[in-house]
Structures are given as structure tokens and as C-alpha cells.
């Protein structure tokens, strides 16, 4: 850096060589102390670009490695949860055939054990790592499943599984015998009678009145469900009548006559004239209601009706609602005397047209002849009701006496079948089937909202005709799973762990494997097994068997081939872990190579630097002594 020097005694060129050497020593010293080849870009020379790109590549790999560590931790946690749930599933499956235990201890403890196991499964599905939930697909910010208590017993005004299952059972059992609803809104002078939206039960035909000036009638019209209304424009006079014409469930016509009276009604069908038309309407309402009760049609246990369309024929017809028994088949051991008509099974979701089957006695059956009616229970399992012809008085359920004529036999059969259907719907098997149906609706895998029985016209679930709307359910029912919903759960969470590799490890708590064990445990935990009496014990054991059979079937290892089974989920997570392991090995090797390059590029070899330093030192020393010697060789020094 020679500049124009204006100082005295400018540095001779020979001296600048010495100072260059000194600079070199400084550089070498800096290299030795910092361990780096160069302190700036210019000094890095030809390896600069390589060093820059390799450094950026290294930083990328290190970022990927951080991701791999993060993902690995998640995978390990997920794996251990899947293993835990698998273990529980195995325990539950293996416990099912164990029987009731000594003094029914197994049976007695079963609901409690199931409840605990359910709690264990649900809380393990809420596992999180630093607030990152692992079982909700891409919805990682909040717990994917509700708490066990909320799920089973409801929370914050929302109903839980216990309530939903109970209502489902009521809806499945049916058993209501009246299908007309009478309503008078408060302070109104009008009473309305409405049909329910089912094809059976009592139906409205028309109404007439003797006093059309005081009483205005609106006749039923249009499509089902129909309604008619009775309006008291003014108070009627005593003995004014209103006739309501009906068709009963068995198809026979009937008329209910309502008579206005001034005093307290003495007879059925009378109503008191009130102070105002509104008061009269209220009285009319109450009286009509009890009159209609008297017109009871046969109850629809299990949501099927036993009817007699002809004197020698008994028909069994579904209600056309998504609840209760569904007809599958009918057969007989004596087709010469008994002619059966097979049902055309109705199908989900509407179950319309309703299936119907009929049994016609064309002759007289012999003792021991059987009619087998195959039904499908609410959870899709099958059952058979066997009706056996006997000559004497039936001793056992399911027997019917052979009458003198086919008509008589048919009547006996009708009565016996009605009773059998009722028995069927109150059996433990039916209850458990209904619970499973409720569980299938409640713990659904589709991500749809819970399907829950809607309340019927009379405020009970026995008259329920279908499921609530999704919006309504959202407002009154606990949603057990609140995570992400994707048909391909695995791909919902994907992390880039290499330039070309994304590892997928999404798991959703409503995948088949999890939902399946949760359903089973939920159903098990709501069962009660009373053993107070011998009959109770028998019923409880039957129920326990029904649960065990379903547990064995539902948790069968053959289900593990399902793409969303615990085994499949475990395999996918294992594959992801293997991918990560391979990548880690690759990255370690690759970054070691890159580090090597950076090391060679950036790091100063201390041996090399030290030997260079020695060399320069020798050179400098030589220069110093030479310079010193030369400076002595001045004539000035020798002139005295």
C-alpha cells in the first residue's frame, strides 16, 4: 500500500519487505488462534462458493434433523399409545369368553373394569407433546376427544352417550299404542289432533259437529301426517256433539263422539262447557285425549306391528322408521299347512317402504310344526323367533295352540307372536343390540355429527320416527371426537424431513381401530347386571352373553386387516420410523462429508500454520540481522 509519503525518511523498499513478513506472521498467528483459514470472504479464495453452498446445505440438513427428532418423538409416543390401546383391546377380547366367574364376579365387575379401560383409552388418545396433540389428524392444537365423563354423562347441557343410548333403546323398543296427538296451545280456543308420520296406528278420517255455528271444524286433508282442528268460536250449548271418525290400526273404522255438558262430565266422551271458549277448548282437549286412549290399537313393540289382514292370516309389518326390529325372513317346517310370504327387507337410512311378511294358515299344522321368523336387531345382528304349534295349552313362550280351524289357529298364532315380539324387544340381547346401535351412531368414524333419536310427537322416544338433524344434535349432544376428519388420516400430518422426503404420520382417534374398542367399552360400561332374584340373574347372564358375543366378534383379530385397524396404524407408524432412521443415517453420513469439506475449506491446519510460522520467523530473523548488518556498513560509522 504505497502511498505518496510526505514524511521524513520514507521507508526504503527493502524495509517494506520486512514489514510484509511481519504482516504474514500476524495472519498466521490469527489463523493459529482462531483456527480459521480466513477471516473474510476475500481470504477464502477458490473454496468460497463451495463453502457457502455447503454451509447452507449443512444448515438445511441440520434443520431436517431437528424435524426428524421432533417427528421421532411424536412417532414413539403415538406408537406407545397404539400399543397400549392394542393391549387393552386384546385384554377385552380375551376376557369376553371367560364366563360369569364364581358367584358372577366377572359379570359384576365388568362395567367398572370397562369404564376404567375406556378412561385409559380416551385419555391416551389425548396425549400431547408440548401442546401438540397426536391423535386429531391436522387438528393438533386441541384435545381430539372429550373427557370420559363428558362422553358418557354429558357436560355443559349436552347429553352424553348414556342418555343417547337410553333414548335409542326407547326408540328401538317402541311399544306405544296411540299415534294421535291432541294439542291445545295455551289460551287458544282451538284443539288440534295430529297423526304421526308413521304408516300405522290410528289415522284421522273426518269430523262432524251438531253445532257448526259455535264449533268450526277444519277437516283433515292433504298428505300424511294429517291433522284436524276443532275451534270453539263461541261456547257450545249442552249436548252439542263433535264426531271424530278414525281408522284404527287394524283398518277398522271407529268414531269418537264428544258431547258438551254443563256440569261435571259423568260419562266418557263428555266435556264441560267452560266460562270462555278457551276454557272449553282445554276441557275438550283433555276429554278427547282420554277418549282416544280408549281406542288403543295394538302396541308396536320393537317397531313392528302384528296384524290380521285376513282371518287366517297374520302379518308382521315394520314401522318404516330407522329403529327397532327389521324383518329378514320367514320360514316354516310345514309348508303344506302354513304358507309364508317373505319380506322384502327395507334398507337404511329411511327403511321405506317398510318390509312386511305374512303367515297364512291354509290347513291345520301338526304338533311341533314351527314358523321361524328371522329378524335383524338394531346393531345389524340377526335373531330368530321360533313359533311352535302345540296341541294343548301353550306351556312355554313361543308356542301357539292349534285351533279347530285355520282361522282359530291364526288367531292363536297372532296372540303368541305379539307376545313373542314383546319378549324379544325386552330381552338382554335386544338391549345390547340397541346399545351397540347407539354406540355406532355416537362413536362414529365418519366424522359426521352424532346420530341421535329425535323425540316423538308425544314427547317420548318410543314414538320417535327418525334421527335429529345434525344441527340439532350439535346443540344438544356431546361430540366425542373433535379432531380433523380425513378419509386418509395418515396424510393429514406430513413433515418434510429431507429435500425429497415427506413423512406422513397423521392418526385420528376416530379411525376404525380406536372407535371399535371405544364403542365396545362404552357399551360394556353402561350395562347393569342385577342378580337380586333368580330371574334377574338369568336375564343378566343372557345380557352378559350378548355383550360377550359381540365383543368377540367386533374385536376379532380378523378385523385387523381393516386399513384403519390398530395393526395397520401401527405398521404405518413403524414404516415412518424406519424412513426416519434411514434418513438419519444418510444425513449423518452426508453431513460428515460436508463438514469435512467445510473443515478443509475453512479450518487452518495447525501443523501447517505452525511450520509456516517457523519458516517466516526464520526469514524475518534473517532479514532483521541482515538489515542490521547492512545499516552498520555506513561510512559514517567509520569516520572519526
Amino acid at each position: 500500500m504505497t502511498t505518496i509519503s510526505n514524511s521524513m525518511f520514507p521507508l526504503p523498499a527493502s524495509w517494506s519487505g520486512v514489514s510484509d513478513l511481519e504482516n504474514e506472521i500476524n495472519t498466521l498467528q490469527a489463523q493459529l488462534s482462531s483456527g480459521m483459514n480466513a477471516s473474510d470472504l476475500a481470504g477464502m479464495g477458490s473454496t468460497r462458493y463451495q463453502d457457502l453452498t455447503v454451509t447452507s446445505q449443512l444448515s438445511k440438513i441440520s434443520a431436517y434433523d431437528t424435524n426428524i427428532n421432533t417427528v421421532n418423538l411424536r412417532l414413539q409416543t403415538q406408537n406407545s399409545v397404539v400399543e397400549d390401546v392394542s393391549t387393552i383391546t386384546g385384554q377385552v377380547r380375551d376376557a369376553a369368553p371367560d364366563g360369569y366367574g364364581t358367584d358372577n364376579t366377572n359379570m359384576a365387575s365388568a362395567p367398572g373394569v370397562a369404564s376404567q379401560q375406556l378412561d385409559q383409552v380416551l385419555s391416551s388418545l389425548n396425549t400431547d407433546i408440548n401442546g401438540h396433540y397426536l391423535f386429531g389428524g391436522s387438528a393438533t392444537e386441541s384435545a381430539p376427544v372429550a373427557t370420559t365423563d363428558a362422553i358418557m354423562n354429558g357436560s355443559g347441557g349436552l347429553d352424553g352417550f348414556t342418555t343417547v343410548a337410553d333414548q335409542q333403546l326407547q326408540a328401538d323398543q317402541g311399544g306405544m299404542n296411540d299415534w294421535l296427538q291432541v294439542q291445545t296451545p295455551a289460551a287458544s280456543d282451538t284443539t288440534t289432533v295430529s297423526e304421526d308420520n308413521v304408516p300405522y296406528g290410528t289415522k284421522l278420517v273426518s269430523a262432524t259437529t251438531s253445532d257448526s255455528s259455535a264449533i268450526t271444524l277444519t277437516q283433515p286433508s292433504g298428505t300424511a301426517p294429517q291433522s284436524l282442528s276443532v275451534q270453539f268460536a263461541s261456547n257450545p250449548t249442552a249436548n252439542d256433539t263433535v264426531d271424530v271418525n278414525l281408522t284404527l290400526a287394524d283398518g277398522s273404522p271407529s268414531t269418537v263422539t264428544m258431547t258438551a255438558v254443563t256440569g261435571t262430565p259423568q260419562n266418557p266422551g263428555e266435556y264441560q262447557i267452560g266460562a270462555t271458549p278457551q276454557a272449553t277448548a282445554a276441557n275438550f282437549n283433555a276429554a278427547l285425549n282420554s277418549s282416544l286412549q280408549a281406542q288403543a290399537s295394538s302396541p308396536d313393540y320393537g317397531r313392528v306391528q302384528v296384524q290380521a289382514p285376513a282371518s287366517d292370516t297374520t302379518a308382521l309389518t315394520e314401522d318404516g322408521v330407522p329403529f327397532g326390529l327389521k324383518l329378514a325372513s320367514v320360514s316354516t317346517s310345514n309348508s303344506s299347512a302354513i304358507s309364508v310370504t317373505q319380506p322384502t327387507p327395507s334398507a337404511a337410512p329411511s327403511y321405506t317402504p317398510p318390509a312386511t311378511l305374512s303367515v297364512q294358515f291354509t290347513g291345520t299344522p301338526s304338533d311341533g310344526d314351527t314358523v321361524n321368523i328371522g329378524v335383524t336387531l338394531p346393531d345389524g345382528t340377526s335373531d330368530t323367533m321360533t313359533m311352535t304349534a302345540v296341541t294343548g295349552t301353550p306351556q312355554n313362550p313361543g308356542e301357539f295352540q292349534i285351533g279347530a280351524t285355520p282361522q282359530e289357529t291364526a288367531a292363536n298364532f297372532n296372540a303368541a307372536l305379539t307376545s313373542s315380539v314383546q319378549t324379544e324387544t325386552t330381552s338382554g340381547n335386544f338391549t345390547v343390540a340397541s346399545n351397540y346401535a347407539a354406540a355406532n351412531n355416537f362413536f362414529n368414524e365418519s366424522g359426521q355429527s352424532v346420530q341421535r333419536a329425535a323425540v316423538g310427537v308425544d314427547g317420548t322416544y318410543a314414538t320417535s320416527t327418525g334421527y335429529q338433524s345434525a344441527a340439532q344434535t350439535a346443540g344438544d349432544t356431546v361430540q366425542w371426537y373433535q379432531g380433523d376428519n380425513s378419509s386418509n388420516a395418515l396424510s393429514t400430518v406430513s413433515t418434510k424431513v429431507d429435500d425429497t422426503t415427506n413423512v406422513n404420520y397423521g392418526v385420528e382417534a376416530n379411525q376404525y381401530g380406536f372407535a371399535n374398542i371405544i364403542k365396545t367399552l362404552a357399551v360394556q360400561s353402561i350395562q347393569t347386571y342385577p342378580t337380586d332374584t333368580a330371574a334377574d340373574t338369568d336375564a343378566s347372564q343372557a345380557k352378559y352373553d350378548a355383550v360377550s358375543v359381540r365383543t368377540t366378534t367386533n374385536l376379532s383379530t380378523t378385523n385387523e386387516t381393516n386399513a384403519n385397524s390398530l395393526t395397520s396404524i401401527g405398521v404405518n407408524l413403524g414404516l415412518a420410523q424406519t424412513t426416519l432412521q434411514n434418513l438419519t443415517t444418510q444425513h449423518t453420513a452426508y453431513s460428515a462429508q460436508l463438514q469435512d469439506i467445510v473443515g478443509t475449506d475453512e479450518t487452518a491446519d495447525p501443523n501447517l500454520v505452525a511450520s509456516q510460522l517457523l519458516q517466516v520467523q526464520t526469514q524475518l530473523q534473517a532479514s532483521f540481522s541482515a538489515t542490521s548488518m547492512i545499516s552498520q556498513l555506513q561510512l559514517v560509522n567509520y569516520l572519526k
Binding site: I4, A13, L41, Y49, S62, T66, D499
Partner: protein
């Protein structure tokens, strides 16, 4: 011949020895004075009436004109390379080494790593906060580098101001020295001193401005630049400089009316005519030329590289890619894409092949008609065609058809929005089909539009924004949005306020969703950019590739530039050393010589004095003889 002759000879000897001693003593005393050239006294014997005597015949100043010229020219070149090296050294030190955590490449790598971590944990607040904070660090690193580079440009202006003062003063002094040398009466000793002064002043001027020196017979000099513009004759020309005291990236040398953006440097001749030094390329070397080159080219290019990096960074995040849908017409097939969202600076990328030879064309929206027609191949090797999109798809089609020729068929259909029903949004569909033969094929048609907000439909979003939180589209209109963008880039205030926006591409996106993060990370990792061949491309160092590549290329380029400037400067320094050594040995004071001369002169003096003493003795003897 007599005693008196002997005496007079001895006296003349004493006198010349005395004069020589004067010279020798002056030489010795000035042996350390810079610019002092060794003097020597010529002595001749003169045959006079009274015999031969030693007489001073003149003072000679050691001077080698060709060596001096070489020195002068090397002074200019050395000053040029020194100043270049010192500035470039600063630029590279601002960029930092890869192992330096505050270097641009490290800051970028850290940012990219945090984004990579976000692909694993988009739901983690602190991971998102880290990304935002690293993005801010990156933006402020770019801002800081812009400030540094513009600071250097500002510094060049200050140095130019001081150089202009120095060179003007030196030229004025030279005028005076010239006048004194020209006046004949000057004492020879004073003349040598004047010449020393003259050479010093010339060297001073040469350090700042490259000069050719003409030595006149009378010792005076005339100066002209190497380009032939006279600086000094009888009178001196004057440099004057009006600097822009607030230099920003947008301060550019405009080619039209002077260099008003950065400052005006003029050279005014004694007759009053003035000349713009920069526009006329008057200077080729010297510190001033180096400073101007740094201010107007080298540092501008460094800024341009920074701006390109900043622009590409912003676009990696904000660009939404819309792939075209397949379209056919008769036997012709190709793609259609809606271009209604294309903003100035956005582009539509068309890839087609003719005879199996595939080519990629970036069709860029340029609404500034002064920039059209625009058709160049960028540093990435892609052809770039400027088209005005403001007239709708039909107008785009016409312009593009003209640019691309007949191997493809371009058409456009514009549909106005209609409230309906059914409601139809406005659209501008551009369709590119092959010419219906198998010889040509349209491979893809992709619209690249800038997301103007954070949740406007696409996965891309404006993480990095321009002033006032406005989106960066890379518009080429006017000065171009890219110019100085590195100084204005900042992190979107909405994202700073709510870092959920790093993940949520719609208001209902779950926070665990990785779609957006994966998209922007992928774009940052794979999207390549190129620079247009600009007026600074003659310097090389045009960037291409991904953002990471560009940052490496920039650091490499600046490092290499600094290294080569250092080497260049060291070479000039060596040359200067060699010349100086030679000049010292030829023109400088050799103390040993002088001492030897001193011994000789001492002896001569005593000899002469002895002669006088002997003559005196002889006279005494003669007087005694006469008197006795």
C-alpha cells in the same frame, strides 16, 4: 607564473571545495527529505590569465524523466486500485463469512431452518414466533446491508469532495512553480528546490487524477489527462463537485441531463468552457476515477444483487402458481389460464417445444410503455417477454402472438363480471395452443400472481412487504419496484401481529395444517429466479437460481471482487516499491558517496590551505631575503 598564480589557484580550489561542501552538506541534511533529488556540483578547470583554476560550472539535480513518467503513471493506477480495494474490502466484510452468524448467508440459513421447523410444528406458538423473528432479522440484515452500501456511496462523495479540493490546490501551486521556473533569474539552488516541489505536486495530482506530464525546457510542466483533456498549461483548469448529500439506492447516474442523482463533477478550463467529467469519461485512473467507478457501478451493482435477493425472497412467499387447464381447438391442443389477477411484474410462464426443442418464456406484465418492447434472455436462461396486461386477455394474446411468431396460437377471451343470476366473476382467459401439427407442443402454461394479503385464497402470502405494508410484485414500471427494495423490505405487520397467519391460509384453516408452510418452504427451496441483463452486467456477477443460491453467488462474487482488488492493489504496490527503490538509488542521496566526497573535499581543502600556507612561507622567505 609566480607565487600569486599559485595563491590564486589555491584560493579557487578553496572556493570550489567550499561550494562542494555546501552541496554535500545539503545532500546529507536532506537525505531523509521526501522528493529531494541528490545534487552535484560540476567543477571545471579554467585557463585564465593567471593560469588554470578550478571553477564551478553549475549545479546538477539528479533527474530521470522516463523513470519519473513511469512513477507518475503508476501513482495513478496504484491509487485507483487502492481505493477500489479498500471499498470492496468493506463490502465483503459487511456480507460476512459463512461461519459468521451475522452474515447474510447465516441469517438466511437460520431463517430457512426455522421455517423448516415450522413444517413439523405449525401449531407451536414459539416456533411461529421464531420464524417471524428470524424473518425480521433477515429483513433488517438486508436493510442494514443496503444502508452500508449506500453509506459507502455517500463516503465516496465525501472523498471526491476532498480529492477535488486537493487536486485544485495542487494545480494552483503548480501554476506558481511553473512561473518561477520560467523566470530566468532564479538561483540554481532555488531552482533545484523548485523542481523538487514541482515533482511532488505532479505526484500529488497523479494520485488523484491520471495525468500525462510534458516537461518543458525551462523546467515547467504541462498536464493533461490520459484521455487528452488539458489540466495545466499556463493556467490551471478547475474541478468542481456538487455532491448529493443524501444518497439512496434510488440515486442513480442518469444518462440524460448530467449526473444529478448522485452529484455533478465538472472540469472548467481556464477559458471558462466546462465539461462533465462523468458523462465524458474524462478520467481513466487515479483515486477520483476509482471513486466514481465505485459510486456509479460497483456499489450500484452490489445493491442490485441485494435487491434481487430481497425481491426473490418476497416473491417466493407471495407467489401463487395457477396451472393452466388443458384446452383444445380442432387438432390444436394446449392450455388456458385465467390472467385477470396478473399484476405489473407478475408473469405467465409458457413452456412449449418446437421440433422437440423445448423453450420457456416468461411473459411479464409491463404496463409502462417506455419499457416496451422488452424481450431478453435472463440469467437463468429463460426468455422474458414484456407484455402489457392492462388491456385484458385479448390484448395480451395479440402482443404475445407477435412476440412468439407462428409456432403457437395465442388467443384471449375477456368476460365482464355479471351480478347474475348466475353470478359470473370477471375473467380474462389466455389460451396458448400448438399450431395443430405434431411438430409443436405446448407443455405448460402457469400464471404466477402475487398474493396481496395473507388470506386471499392461495397458499402463498405476503410475508415480506414493501413500504406501508404493500405487496411486492416486482413491477418493472418506472424505476422498477426492485430498485432499493432490499432497503425497504420488512415483515408484513399483520403477520407480526398474528403469527397464526403463517399457517392459516383461510380463516377456518386449523393451526396444525401444514399446507401453507409446506408450500412456501417448497417455493423457497425450489423456485428459481433470474436477473435481466442490465447496464451493470458488464461487471459480471449476475445472479440466478433459488434465493439461497443467489445469496451464495452474491457473497462469492463480492468476495472474489475484493480478493482480486486486493491482489491488484498488492501488485501495484510491488511495482511502486520497485520504482521507488530505483528512483532512490538513482535520484536519492547516497550518504556513503557523500561521506566519501566529504573526506576527499576535506583533504582537498587542507591541501589547498597547505598550498596557501606554503605560498605564505615562500612570501615570508622572499621578504626576509629582500629585507636583509
Amino acid at each position: 607564473m609566480g607565487l600569486s598564480t599559485t595563491l590564486s589557484n589555491a584560493l579557487s580550489g578553496l572556493s570550489t571545495v567550499q561550494d562542494s561542501l555546501d552541496v554535500v552538506s545539503r545532500n546529507i541534511s536532506n537525505s531523509g527529505t521526501p522528493g529531494y533529488n541528490q545534487e552535484s556540483l560540476s567543477v571545471t578547470d579554467q585557463t585564465g590569465t593567471s593560469g588554470n583554476s578550478a571553477v564551478d560550472s553549475g549545479l546538477t539535480r539528479a533527474f530521470d524523466q522516463s523513470l519519473q513518467s513511469y512513477f507518475t503513471s503508476e501513482t495513478s493506477d496504484s491509487a485507483y486500485s487502492n481505493v477500489t480495494s479498500s471499498y470492496l474490502n468493506q463490502v465483503q466484510s459487511y456480507l460476512g463469512t459463512p461461519s459468521d452468524t451475522s452474515s447474510l448467508s447465516s441469517v438466511y440459513n437460520t431463517f430457512e431452518s426455522s421455517l423448516s421447523a415450522l413444517t413439523a410444528s405449525p401449531d407451536d406458538y414459539s416456533t411461529r414466533a421464531t420464524v417471524v423473528s428470524n424473518a425480521q432479522t433477515l429483513a433488517s440484515a438486508l436493510n442494514g446491508l443496503t444502508g452500508d452500501i449506500q453509506g459507502l456511496r455517500q463516503q465516496t462523495n465525501q472523498q471526491i469532495t476532498s480529492d477535488v479540493n486537493t487536486v485544485n490546490a495542487s494545480l494552483q501551486s503548480l501554476v506558481t512553480v511553473n512561473q518561477q521556473l520560467q523566470s530566468l533569474g532564479t538561483d540554481p539552488t532555488a531552482r533545484a528546490a523548485l523542481e523538487d516541489q514541482r515533482d511532488q505536486l505532479v505526484t500529488q495530482v497523479a494520485g488523484i487524477v491520471d495525468v500525462n506530464v510534458t516537461y518543458n525546457n525551462d523546467g515547467s510542466v504541462s498536464l493533461a489527462t490520459r484521455s487528452g483533456v488539458s489540466l495545466l498549461g499556463q493556467q490551471a483548469s478547475t474541478f468542481s463537485f456538487t455532491p448529493n448529500t443524501n444518497i439512496t439506492a434510488n440515486s442513480q447516474v442518469s444518462n440524460g441531463s448530467g449526473n444529478s442523482g448522485v452529484g455533478t463533477l465538472t472540469l472548467t478550463a481556464p477559458n471558462g468552457t466546462s465539461l462533465d467529467v462523468v458523462q465524458n469519461n474524462v478520467l481513466q485512473s487515479g483515486e477520483l476515477a476509482g471513486l466514481l467507478d465505485l459510486r456509479d457501478n460497483t456499489l450500484v451493482q452490489a445493491q442490485n444483487q441485494l435487491d434481487t435477493v430481497a425481491g426473490s425472497l418476497a416473491q417466493s412467499f407471495s407467489t401463487n402458481q395457477t396451472a393452466g387447464t388443458a384446452a383444445t381447438s380442432g387438432s390444436a391442443s394446449g392450455f388456458s389460464v385465467d390472467v385477470s389477477n396478473v399484476q405489473p411484474g407478475n408473469s405467465v410462464t409458457l413452456s412449449y417445444s418446437v421440433g422437440g426443442q423445448s423453450q420457456t418464456v416468461n411473459v411479464v406484465d409491463v404496463t409502462d410503455s417506455s419499457k416496451l418492447p422488452m424481450d431478453y434472455v435472463d440469467s437463468n436462461g429463460n426468455r422474458t417477454v414484456g407484455v402489457d396486461f392492462s388491456g385484458g386477455a385479448a390484448s395480451v394474446a395479440t402482443q404475445l402472438q407477435t412476440a412468439l411468431g407462428g409456432s403457437v396460437q395465442v388467443s384471449g377471451v375477456d368476460t365482464a363480471a355479471s351480478a347474475g343470476p348466475p353470478a359470473v366473476p370477471a375473467s380474462a382467459v389466455l389460451t396458448v395452443l400448438n399450431n395443430g401439427t405434431s411438430n409443436t407442443a405446448v407443455n405448460s402454461l402457469v400464471a404466477q400472481t402475487t398474493s396481496t394479503g395473507t388470506q386471499d385464497g392461495g397458499l402463498g402470502f405476503s410475508l415480506f412487504v414493501d413500504n406501508d405494508n404493500t405487496a411486492y410484485t416486482g413491477s418493472l414500471d418506472g424505476q422498477g419496484q426492485q430498485l432499493g427494495f432490499a432497503g425497504r423490505i420488512s415483515v408484513n405487520a399483520d403477520v407480526v401481529a398474528n403469527n397464526d397467519l403463517l399457517v392459516e391460509n383461510t380463516t377456518t384453516t386449523p393451526i396444525g395444517d401444514v399446507a401453507r408452510v409446506n408450500y412456501v418452504y417448497g417455493q423457497l427451496d425450489s423456485q428459481t429466479y433470474g436477473q435481466p441483463p442490465s447496464n451493470t452486467s458488464g461487471l459480471g456477477g449476475s445472479l440466478s437460481g433459488t434465493v439461497s443460491n443467489m445469496i451464495s453467488q452474491m457473497a462469492d462474487f463480492q468476495g472474489a471482487a475484493a480478493a482480486s482488488a486486493q491482489t491488484d492493489s498488492a501488485n501495484h504496490s510491488d511495482t511502486m516499491g520497485a520504482i521507488t527503490t530505483q528512483m532512490t538509488s538513482e535520484n536519492g542521496v547516497n550518504v556513503n558517496d557523500q561521506m566519501a566526497q566529504l573526506v576527499q573535499l576535506q583533504a582537498a581543502y587542507s591541501a589547498n590551505a597547505h598550498v596557501v600556507s606554503v605560498v605564505q612561507d615562500l612570501f615570508n622567505t622572499l621578504e626576509q631575503a629582500m629585507g636583509s
